[in-house]
């Protein structure tokens, strides 16, 4: 799951190939994913993992790194 999310983030949001996005890279506060684009990331997670993330849980903080996203997704798949 972790790599699937990381690869999706790299493919969809990395603009500068010199930037390195890792599991810990701050995605929202680091400017890789803006608050509007977060919606498409949420849709990706919901469709891919067949979950429903409530809007009040889809916060910039919860989406701020691949590791945090994995924690969020795990909360709805278990």
């Amino acid at each position: 799951m972790k790599d699937l999310i990381l690869n999706y983030v790299i493919n969809e949001y990395q603009e500068d190939e010199d930037d390195e996005i890792t599991y810990e890279t701050p995605l929202i506060s680091g400017g890789f994913v803006d608050s509007f684009s977060m919606v498409s990331l949420k849709v990706f997670l919901e469709k891919k993992f067949k979950i429903n993330i409530p809007d009040d849980k889809a916060t910039p903080e919860a989406f701020d790194s691949v590791n945090k996203i994995v924690d969020l997704v795990n909360g709805y798949t278990k």
Binding site: E15, S37, V43, E61
Partner: protein
């Protein structure tokens, strides 16, 4: 002591000459915004005062004095001039909020060229239509955005120079691409400032309308007069203030009040170039002891959502004045800010075309939470009857917001589109495109837009532009785009589509369409929701009835459907 003193007294005795005198400008003089924002401040003895504190992702921190920004403006301006850029050439700034964006703004203006700032999250299609329309000659950018420009460069014969401010020498450059490093350039101490006058064009911002392509709003150097005075009286900036405008200079707030206003007053300002996080924002205020904060309702509502606990852990006592712009500020947000910061956010109303604030709330004046406030002194703002275009005097009656033309920062035309420009004026009034009413005390109250343009997070998105881009997706047959209500952004983009034979609407298609628009236009334009329909509602003549879809989203009456195709 507040700068404006008494609003009522200012109204009685107002003349734009107040600003002209303070700026030592007389009719017919040279007036160059680049010079006013840097050289003049140095001549006033503030050359060592900090002009800019910058903080970017990865703990990047920099600071620049007014002398530093003067030299940087000279250096960039001279570099552009050496390339052959001349007065009135359009130079696009396509960068994140890095220092070079702010410094290039001054450099371009100093040589009399026109600054065309564009939001760096724009996709290649959004970039193309704006560069094509302006016949832009040079673009200053970062290497991270180069791929978007490379995609469209063949379709832009006017674009001769692609200037990269952070070039990596290990990477190969293509035709027209030129590296430029401010850090490695010899600072230019003296340069000949181009003698722009009041009517010389300065900034070209693009804005979206209901139909047609985005329009280039052309401003002139004389705009400085009202940008200076509104900054002084509404934002109340004083010499020892530390100011933070959260807007991106890709949009008009980021230039009128994120560069010109504060720097023409010699004020220290801060820039945070990172994504949104409530804690990071509050810590930024604490770290730089920000005193005046100009933000947007979407950001304020996001901070409200983040809760009050985080505020208790951070020292925000430096704040003394707050204001907001971009979309109407709801009463709850004003009440919340008074509760948590001890200060209300003062709503300000204006738009790309007006160039400076038009209707606002003022320090020292009674605030009515949820109201837009009153017209700025020198601005004649009214609500017009939608049929007669005569001012409505009856309180509470809704009409069109309009202004008597003639304030300094008013646009002078839409670039290459004089016809659309003329359409903005009726019966001697400039029509803002919004609806409001006046109360018994003369306060304006916002009702909504008078067209289909979507205001998402304070940015205007054209449904036409998104619909056109959707039709370029291989699976889509027809599209209609409307605003959908949203708790944080006020409105977001919603798309209704029909598919071509052989395609099915499934999870992958939806996500694929979203990402297609995000990359092609911008994240703002990306539909936050896509609804598949067997057919779209149309008139008998085949025109898609967007109105019906809009009413459905907002729970409104559908109204007259007599022309509906399948009625």
């Amino acid at each position: 002591m507040i700068n404006i003193g008494s609003y009522d007294e200012r109204i009685k005795n107002f003349s734009w000459e107040i600003a002209e005198k303070e700026l030592e400008y007389k009719k017919g003089d040279i007036i160059n915004i680049g010079w006013y924002c840097s050289d003049r401040i140095c001549e006033m003895g503030k050359s060592e005062k900090i002009a800019l504190y910058y903080e970017g992702f990865g703990d990047k921190e920099k600071s620049y004095t007014f002398n530093d920004i003067r030299l940087a403006g000279n250096t960039i301006g001279t570099f552009l001039r050496d390339q052959g850029i001349v007065a009135e050439d359009r130079v696009c700034l396509f960068m994140d909020r890095i220092p070079e964006l702010y410094l290039s703004f001054l450099g371009v203006l100093k040589i009399g060229a026109i600054v065309q700032p564009l939001f760096s999250a724009f996709g290649d299609e959004s970039l193309l239509v704006r560069l094509e329309n302006a016949q832009t000659r040079a673009i200053i950018t970062q290497r991270k955005h180069l791929s978007k420009i490379r995609k469209i460069i063949d379709r832009l014969p006017s674009l001769e120079y692609i200037i990269i401010v952070d070039h990596n020498p290990a990477k190969e450059l293509k035709e027209k691409e030129i590296p430029f490093s401010l850090k490695n350039s010899t600072p230019v101490e003296e340069m000949e400032i181009y003698p722009t006058t009041a009517e010389s064009p300065s900034v070209l911002h693009y804005t979206s309308g209901t139909t047609g392509q985005p329009k280039g709003v052309r401003h002139v150097h004389y705009s400085l007069i009202s940008q200076y005075l509104t900054t002084k009286w509404v934002l109340d900036l004083q010499d020892d203030d530390i100011y933070w405008c959260t807007a991106d200079p890709g949009w008009v707030t980021g230039t009128s009040y994120g560069i010109i206003g504060p720097w023409s007053l010699g004020i220290t300002q801060c820039v945070l170039d990172s994504g949104f996080s409530a804690e990071a924002w509050y810590k930024f205020i604490e770290k730089y002891k920000i005193t005046m904060w100009y933000s947007a309702p979407t950001a304020i509502r996001s901070l409200m959502k983040a809760g009050d606990e985080v505020i208790k852990r951070i020292d925000l006592k430096s704040l003394r004045h707050l204001a907001s712009v971009g979309e109407p500020l709801n009463a709850e947000a004003v009440i919340w800010s008074e509760k948590v910061f001890g200060l209300p956010f003062l709503d300000t109303y204006w738009q790309t075309e007006t160039g400076s604030m038009m209707i606002t709330n003022y320090p020292g004046m009674k605030i009515k939470p949820g109201s837009m406030g009153k017209s700025f002194p020198g601005i004649t703002g009214v609500v017009l009857d939608a049929k007669t275009y005569e001012p409505i005097t009856e309180p509470g009656k809704v009409g069109l917001i309009a202004f008597k033309p003639g304030w300094p920062a008013m646009m002078t035309t839409y670039w290459n589109n004089e016809e659309k420009y003329k359409e903005k004026f009726v019966n001697g009034w400039y029509l803002a495109g919004d609806r409001a009413y006046l109360d018994t005390e003369g306060y304006f109250w916002f009702i909504g837009r008078d067209d289909d343009v979507i205001n998402t997070g304070g940015h205007l998105v054209s449904p036409f532009e998104v619909e056109s881009a959707l039709l370029e997706h291989e699976a889509i047959s027809e599209s209609a785009v409307v605003a959908k209500p949203d708790e944080v952004n006020m409105e977001v983009v919603k798309a209704f589509i029909t598919l071509k034979p052989g395609y099915e609407f499934d999870d992958d298609t939806e996500l694929n369409i979203m990402n297609f628009i995000r990359k092609k236009l911008s994240p703002l334009a990306m539909p936050q929701e896509i609804e598949f329909m067997e057919s779209l509602p149309k008139t008998r003549s085949g025109k898609i009835m967007r109105r019906i879809l809009h009413a459905k989203e907002w729970g409104e009456e559908i109204g007259d459907t007599s022309t509906l195709e399948d009625d």
